[in-house]
Symmetry: none
Subunit: 85 residues, 2 copies
DNA sequence: AGCAATTTGTTCGTATGTATT
DNA sequence: CAATACATACGAACAAATTGC
């Protein structure tokens, strides 16, 4: 069961962003802790690094994650209130 | 003051080539030095990467620039004599 | 102090699909 | 139809900072 569907109308990077957003909201990624590395996430979703990074950009805009250069990407703590819309 | 006019009769990539050619000839880009990255130039001119690269192709044909893969695009040193026409 | 591995940052090469001119 | 343009995506290579030994 691939985690993204290349044939879906939604772009892969958006599908990935949605998946990760849901997981973070569900608590699968603990606030304050580090997310998987870009490399690991690329392998998990079967996409190129650019695509994965594009997805992370979305989450960063949501205020759900932040990245420390050469260290990793972390889940914010505490999580921001979900934005309506 | 956008640097290119999408409504002009000239294609955007040609307008960009002309602008950069003029700047290089005027010495705004020092011979031997690196030009801005494709990304930065895309943002400056507000065009897609393909369009920007098409403009760089023109300058490359003019012998004004050369590109080192994964490093950047540089202004030739010395500049070639302007070709008549 | 030194060194290699890890990880993110950057940059160009290429290809595809869609829309516009 | 052909050329151009945009957005996305994959690939490759290199840079730079961090980490662990």
């Amino acid at each position: 069961m691939p985690e993204i569907d290349p044939d879906a109308p939604e772009w892969p990077y958006r599908q990935i962003a949605t998946t990760l957003r849901t997981e973070i909201r569900a608590g699968l990624w603990e606030p304050g802790k580090r997310l998987s590395t870009e490399k690991a996430l690329c392998e998990r979703f079967g996409v190129a690094r650019e695509t994965l990074r594009r997805a992370l950009d979305c989450l960063r805009e949501d205020g759900l994650i932040f990245t420390i250069p050469h260290r990793g990407t972390y889940v914010v703590d505490p999580l921001p209130a979900p934005t309506p819309e």
